[in-house]
């Protein structure tokens, strides 16, 4: 190897990073080459100077670290305010999600009841997800699933009227102004609220899944 090749390896040689075979070659060359020997001496001197650059950590660093560690691992007797609020918020989320689910399900059930009782057709519509046995006994199914109301029977006679009218009338009667929240007196608001509630339910559910992981 020539001096240029040796020079590239001298730094690693000074650091003890060469394998034994290469180290022997360099050792032999340095003994015979003053220029490479001088360069090696410079590298070794720099190694020594750099090694003296290590600093001492502050005296209280370890104490500060251990205090922070103990704070992290201490049993939670008085949860931090943020943690307490986080847990409360997650339970509130669960409660709200439950209420919204119940309201959505009940709204769907009410609508389904109205549609079924409003039609009163012995042959079920293709959209209805009734079993074959159930389809043969519409009254029985209606009786078993949803309570038949007197008003429903009278609506069955008005078969020629558009279904939406019945729904609208029924919705207004089922959700009387007294039952809705003061902020949502109108049907449109109720419809929008139902849609919003469905979306909000998903969001809360999603949040709950994450919020529940404390």
């Amino acid at each position: 190897m020539d001096c240029n090749q040796i020079e590239e390896l001298l730094c690693a040689f000074a650091d003890g990073e060469l394998d034994s075979e290469l180290s022997e070659q360099l050792q032999k060359h340095v003994k015979e080459c003053p220029r490479c020997a001088a360069l090696l001496a410079e590298y070794l001197a720099m190694n020594e100077a750099l090694a003296k650059m290590q600093l001492q950590a502050p005296d209280d660093l370890c104490d500060k670290v251990m205090a922070a560690v103990r704070e992290q691992t201490a049993p939670v007797t008085k949860p931090a305010r943020g943690l307490r609020l986080g847990r409360v918020a997650s339970w509130i989320g669960v409660a709200v999600a439950a209420v919204l689910c119940v309201s959505v399900v009940s709204t769907v059930l009410v609508r389904h009841t109205i549609q079924n009782s409003g039609g009163m057709d012995p042959s079920p519509s293709p959209d209805q997800t009734m079993s074959t046995t159930a389809a043969e006994n519409v009254d029985g199914i209606e009786t078993d699933r949803w309570p038949v109301q007197e008003d429903d029977t009278s609506r069955a006679e008005a078969d020629t009227e558009p279904p939406y009218t019945d729904d609208e009338v029924t919705m207004d009667s089922a959700a009387s102004p007294e039952e809705t929240t003061p902020e949502d007196p109108t049907e449109e608001a109720t419809t929008e609220e139902a849609t919003t509630e469905e979306t909000t339910t998903e969001e809360i559910t999603t949040e709950d899944k994450s919020g529940g992981m404390v």
Partner: protein
């Protein structure tokens, strides 16, 4: 201290042994602090980084697989902590480095037996360290970093490659380049 002892402390600390973890902190605090100082450039940042490094170490003890030396793993955590810290502070390259170096080495002198036995040597040592610090300040950050890891922290090329996530060949050539640059700086300042 032996690598096996460090591994034993890590294992014990994983089980919640705080004394074992304190031993780890004491074993590596000088190296971590030094690294943080020479990369961030000042004492306060170095202390913040060092503290955060050990807190991260505590939180991630379970992730140590034992496939590298504890020193390389801990310095890897220090490296990531350091650069996250600098990124968060939006540190600019033009900020002066090691402005407080004189205060640093004055407040916490090295426990060097030779220096203590011969006071004139202490002055020479101090002057040399100041010169090297000024030289390091003039190097690019990546070259400062490898010199710190190799000669101040005592990591091997392979361990440095693991710490930095770079090939050993890259580390080797970067160290050589950094040393040559530092050598030229010190020669120009008549300290070499």
């Amino acid at each position: 201290m032996s690598e096996q002892l460090h591994r034993d402390w890590i294992q014990a600390a994983r089980q919640g042994d705080e004394d074992a973890f304190a031993n780890l902190v004491k074993a590596f605090q000088d190296k971590v602090y030094s690294y943080a100082y020479y990369v961030t450039g000042n004492r306060q940042d170095a202390e913040d980084v060092a503290q955060e490094t050990f807190l991260k170490l505590w939180r991630t003890l379970g992730s140590y697989r034992g496939d590298c030396a504890p020193s390389a793993w801990i310095m890897q955590i220090a490296k990531h902590t350091c650069f996250d810290y600098l990124r968060a502070k939006s540190r600019r390259q033009t900020e002066p480095l090691y402005d407080d170096f004189d205060g640093e080495i004055a407040d916490r002198p090295l426990p060097d037996a030779d220096v203590q036995s011969n006071p004139p040597d202490a002055a020479v040592q101090k002057e040399q360290r100041q010169a090297v610090a000024k030289g390091l300040a003039q190097l690019p950050q990546d070259q400062r970093e490898v010199l710190t890891l190799c000669y101040i922290n005592g990591l091997s090329y392979e361990q440095i490659a693991l710490t930095l996530g770079q090939p050993p060949g890259t580390v080797k050539s970067r160290i050589r380049r950094a040393k040559n640059n530092l050598k030229n700086i010190l020669k120009n300042g008549n300290f070499f």
